[in-house]
Every structure is written in structure tokens, then in C-alpha cells.
Amino acid sequence: MERNPLQRQVAYMRRSLFDQGYLDEQFVQLEDLQDDANPNFVEEIVTLFYTDSARLIHNIEQALESRPLDFIRLDDYMHQFKGSSSSIGAKKVKNECTQFREHCSARSAEGCVRTFQQVKQEHTILRRKLETYFQLARQAGLAN
């Protein structure tokens, strides 16, 4: 298929997101579901994820301020966060969530606080990359 330079750039950016470990196979599953009936499905799901995860981040931040830490509640919130991250194929975010939950199991407050910063960092990095990707894809006139 002949692609113009912008389309090639979009394809390259997409490939990079997978090669650099930001996204996994689940993102491809979402792309496969996008069609004429749901033309912006991938972006819709990613937007829904970021709306929902803002709530979870807020809950976790509040829970991390309470003393003593309720590791069961923290683990439960992070389980939800990890599940949502898995749903969009957010591989690095998901991995950081796993690390956080290991610190919950170990009842390590310092570990939880530290890894939560990493969760948020990966969450933000991915958001920026996907926003750029979707913007470029729209410009290129591609479906996803």
C-alpha cells in the first residue's frame, strides 16, 4: 500500500509504541474492533481509560495519606487500575501496577509510595504519546 509521508510517520510512531514496550497485543485487539460503526473506537476507549484512571489515582493518593496504610484497600484500587491498563494494552503502566501490588503484599509503605510515582509517570508518558499519535493519525486521515 502506497503511503504518503504523514501516513508513514503514523505507522512508524505506532510501531515504536510497541517496540518500546508502551503497548501490547491488547491495543491491536482494540484496533481490530474499530470499523465504520465505531470509527473512533480506539481513541474513545483510551479517553475512557484516562477519565476512569484519574478517579483511581485520586483514590490511591488519598489512601496513601492515611496512617496506618490500608494495604488491602490499596491493593484493591491498584487491581482495578491494572485491569483498566490491561484493557487498553498499556504494558508499562500495567507492569508498574504489578510492582505496586507486590509492595502491598510485602506491606512496604516506602515501596508503595515509590512505585506509585512510577505508575503515574508511565501513565502520563503514555497519555502524551497516544495524544500525539491520535492527532497525527487524524491529520493523516487514517482510521487509527
Binding site: N38, L48, F49, S84, S87
Partner: protein
């Protein structure tokens, strides 16, 4: 139990489903599915996925809503039941539905990937259990199983 991805091309999968469904009788009869999940992201993904493979879908947010639907006379060929939900969770809803005599295929979907947790969920009366979100291959296999059982 997790299914392996077989990776059939999507058009071939639709053809398999289409042929099997025509074999059921009326060309307008679609397999009906109830999505039971408190996560809006999962509900949306599963709704689009199931619709794309030709199923009718309805969604509720917890187990009690699913039970209430059945009590009101509704019935579905397939129920996708989340494990953890507020008000009434998946195991409780599944037990209640089975106690009511519901024979629909009930498939658990959970983000929990520990075998012991899945076994506990299965023990409530599920026909099978998968890690969510479901994939097209998994749904295709479920529909083929439904068609074969019928």
C-alpha cells in the same frame, strides 16, 4: 481455562459464525448476551466485540441487576459475569441464577489471574472463566460452543 489464540482472519470467523447461525433456523435469530460488569471500559469493549461478531448485547453494572433481569422474565443465551462488583459480586450472582434454574451459559471474566481465585469463581456455577478483556478468538470459540450445544 484460557483459550489459545488461534488467529483466524476476522472475515473467516464471521463466515463460520454466519453459517452456523443460519443453520440454527431463523436468519434473524441472534445469540443474546448479557454483560455483567461494573467497569465501564470493560462493558464498552465487550459490547463492541460481541456486536461485531453478530451477537445481541445488553449490559448491567452488577450481579443484582442481572438477577433482577432474570426475575423479570428476561433470558439470555450467554452471560459474561465479572468477578468483583459492588452490591452483588459474580460468584453470588451466579449461585443465585443457578438456584433459580437458569441454564444459560455463564462465563466468568476476571482481571484476577490466580488459579485458586478462578477455581473459586468456577465453583459458583460457571461454565468457564477467562481473564478479561475477552478477545475475538475467545468469543468466537464461545459462540461455536453455544451453537454446538444447541
Amino acid at each position: 481455562m484460557l483459550l489459545l489464540h488461534i488467529g483466524k482472519p476476522f472475515n473467516l470467523r464471521k463466515e463460520i459464525l454466519g453459517k452456523k447461525m443460519r443453520g440454527k433456523g431463523s436468519s434473524s435469530s441472534k445469540i443474546s448476551t448479557l454483560i455483567v460488569d461494573d467497569d465501564p471500559l470493560t462493558r464498552r469493549i465487550h459490547k463492541v466485540l460481541l456486536t461485531k461478531v453478530g451477537l445481541e448485547t445488553q449490559a448491567v453494572e452488577n450481579g443484582k441487576e442481572a438477577v433482577d433481569l432474570y426475575r423479570s422474565g428476561a433470558s439470555f443465551d450467554l452471560i459474561l459475569m465479572d468477578l468483583e462488583m459492588p452490591i452483588m459480586d459474580g460468584p453470588k450472582a451466579t449461585k443465585e441464577l443457578r438456584a433459580m434454574g437458569v441454564q444459560s451459559m455463564i462465563v466468568g471474566v476476571t482481571a484476577r489471574d490466580l488459579e485458586v481465585e478462578k477455581q473459586m469463581f468456577m465453583a459458583s456455577g460457571l461454565d468457564d472463566c477467562y481473564v478479561k478483556p475477552l478477545t475475538t478468538d475467545t468469543v468466537t470459540a464461545l459462540v461455536e460452543k453455544l451453537n454446538k450445544d444447541n
